[in-house]
């Protein structure tokens, strides 16, 4: 730490502001977590109290473990999320590169075309999607989900990545070209590493709706073998009675993997710091 450049007063103020906001951000999460360890009565009797010997209960977690194969669901969710993210980042960054780097007639229009998808809730296309998956025999496979999420994630990815790619110094790409690198190599070896923070951001954005989505797993892959975690947790939400213990436990557990994914991706943010052209 450079003492000369850090001002203790402003540092304290910064920490103060961040701590306050962190508390605001975490308080409801805290409420969820402590309540996932309590009996139903205790949840509603004193939602804010810590679980004690009286109210402590793992009933929610037990229910979750008993009902359905949660490790399988978990694995399915992981495969779908990671698979979709991989394709989104790959295809998205390729398209973003084309749009940001090359000037060709129709560039703008193509950009707009690739953004159309975020303007209509994809849900309304469900029947057509489902019919297509039936026709291709992909129903009840994880591929159907991966494809849908990939398509769903692409617009945002292209949008964000092309903006960041525009900021990569032309000199660097030019240096690559003069060095005889092909456009593909320039993309893969120069541009992609330099927009790593943006890639991580895109990954994080897409990861959450994919992980939490209920609708497409329900429609496209509701089979026991392909159920995702979110779909699996829905069992506890009934018509009239919701097993909040189980819901809280299942969903608390579901936070962990995404959190880990998030942390992995946010590492990339930090690594990206070495970027920034030199001179």
């Amino acid at each position: 730490m450079n003492k000369a450049r850090s001002n203790p007063v402003s540092a304290a103020a910064m920490h103060g502001a961040l701590i306050i906001y962190t508390l605001i951000a975490l308080f409801p999460v805290f409420v969820i977590l402590i309540n996932s360890f309590k009996s139903r009565r205790a949840i509603f009797r004193e939602p804010l109290s810590m679980p004690n010997s009286d109210s402590f209960s793992l009933i929610g977690y037990e229910t979750v473990m008993k009902q359905g194969d949660f490790f399988l669901y978990f694995q399915n969710s992981m495969i779908v999320t990671v698979g979709s993210l991989f394709l989104i980042l790959l295809f998205g960054s390729m398209a973003a590169f084309a749009l940001s780097e090359y000037r060709f007639k129709g560039n703008m229009i193509m950009g707009l075309y690739l953004a159309l998808g975020i303007m209509i809730p994809i849900r309304i296309g469900t029947v057509a999607i489902l019919e297509m998956m039936v026709a291709t025999g992909l129903v009840n496979t994880l591929w159907s989900l991966i494809l849908v999420y990939t398509a769903q994630g692409l617009p945002l990815a292209v949008f964000i990545l092309s903006e960041f790619m525009r900021q990569v110094s032309d000199d660097l790409k030019d240096a690559g070209r003069v060095d005889g690198l092909s456009e593909y190599t320039i993309f893969a070896r120069i541009v992609v590493p330099l927009v790593r923070p943006a890639m991580a951001t895109v990954a994080v954005f897409n990861m959450i709706p994919i992980w939490n989505d209920l609708w497409f797993p329900l429609i496209l892959a509701p089979a026991e073998e392909t159920k995702t975690l979110t779909l699996g947790s829905q069992v506890f939400i009934g018509q009239f009675v919701t097993d909040w213990n189980a819901v809280l436990s299942a969903l608390s557990m579901a936070i962990l993997p995404v959190l880990i994914l998030y942390i992995i991706f946010s590492r990339q943010l930090i690594r990206g710091i070495t970027s920034g052209a030199v001179k």
Binding site: V29, V31, L48, M94, M110, G117, M132, A151, L259
Partner: protein, 323 residues
């Protein structure tokens, strides 16, 4: 300027000819675009527009019949529909403005704090603040209802503790507050997104430029306004447009917290919930893909206009600085 811009400027050919470029076909552009365009067109655009097409049809005795713009006439001309529509649209704008005014500034401010190069525990704060964004709507709805509930009383008793109990109201249940409350909950949940984006943008500002600023006496908040902010303007543009698109498509949180009828008395109804009710139906109301598509088409038009204003009016004018 890059090589590939060579010779592509002023020309007015078709897409193909342009890509072709005087005897050297720029295959790489096609190859870069192809996977995304194919997957996206097949799995997204085709189903969506196939569905949107239904806006021009209606169901007459189990037979799909072309009716032109009748559905839109009904949507705008028939007060039964138009009132709901305008109500939802108005609410949606409020929803959007609250996000713009609260979520994005907070997100930018947090990112600015977090990107401070010598801040300790930055990763910790960043992850903590991002956690709400990870949560599913079910749990967010549950937690906030529990907290704001007048019965179980986390919020009332906390207000009580600081002597402000009188400020408490059953916010989610009052027409006057429900939308604002939900908007703020949504802000709470999603502030991580502008934060991340801006954070990524701030990180790519070269250290030396900030150092030059420091030498010039431009530090702290001044450095933010005068150096960082102008450099991240394109990213701020992006989060604005993402917020716009996201808000005008929003649905889940309201649905999870207030149900499809977006109570009380439709005071939290936004286009997303309106579309959902219309398209998929709700309770005894049957889904009507035809009217639903008309609503979706209208939403699409609204969002498209917004995005076009951004793309053609703002984005092209934004100066980008290669860092």
């Amino acid at each position: 300027m890059a090589c590939c811009r060579i010779g592509v400027l002023e020309t007015g050919f078709s897409l193909l000819e342009i890509v072709m470029q005087a005897s050297r076909f720029r295959w790489h552009i096609v190859i870069f675009l192809a996977p995304a365009v194919i997957v996206y067109t097949a799995v997204m655009i085709f189903p969506l527009f196939n569905t949107l097409r239904l806006a021009l049809y209606t169901d007459v005795d189990q037979v799909r019949t072309f009716v032109g713009l009748d559905n839109f006439n009904m949507l705008f001309g028939d007060p039964r529909w138009s009132e709901q529509f305008w109500n939802a649209l108005g609410n949606n704008f409020k929803f959007f403005f609250i996000h713009m005014l609260v979520q994005n500034p907070i997100g930018v401010a947090l990112a600015a704090l977090l990107s401070h190069p010598r801040l300790r525990f930055a990763a910790l704060y960043r992850s903590a603040i991002f956690i709400p964004t990870i949560l599913s709507f079910v749990i967010v709805g549950f937690a906030w209802k529990l907290i704001l509930s007048p019965i179980w009383g986390i919020a009332p008793s906390m207000l009580d503790a600081v002597g402000l109990k009188s400020l408490f109201a059953p916010w989610l249940g009052k027409e006057a507050y429900a939308l604002i409350t939900l908007s703020l909950i949504s802000v709470w949940q999603f502030v991580g997104i502008p934060m991340m984006l801006i954070y990524a943008a701030l990180l790519s500002i070269p250290e030396e430029i900030l150092e030059a600023g420091e030498i010039d006496g431009i530090t702290g908040i001044n450095a933010f306004w005068k150096i960082k902010l102008p450099l991240i303007l394109p990213s701020i543009g992006i989060i604005s447009i993402l917020t716009f698109v996201g808000n005008f498509n929003a649905f889940d949180l309201i649905y999870a917290a207030q149900g499809a009828l977006a109570g009380p008395d439709f005071s939290t109804d936004i286009l997303g919930t309106f579309l959902y009710r219309t398209f998929f139906g709700f309770q005894l109301q049957l889904g009507d893909p035809y009217m639903g598509s008309a609503v979706a088409g209208t939403m699409f038009a609204i969002i498209l206009v917004g995005v076009c204003i951004y793309l053609f009016g703002i984005q092209t004018r934004l100066r980008r600085y290669q860092l």
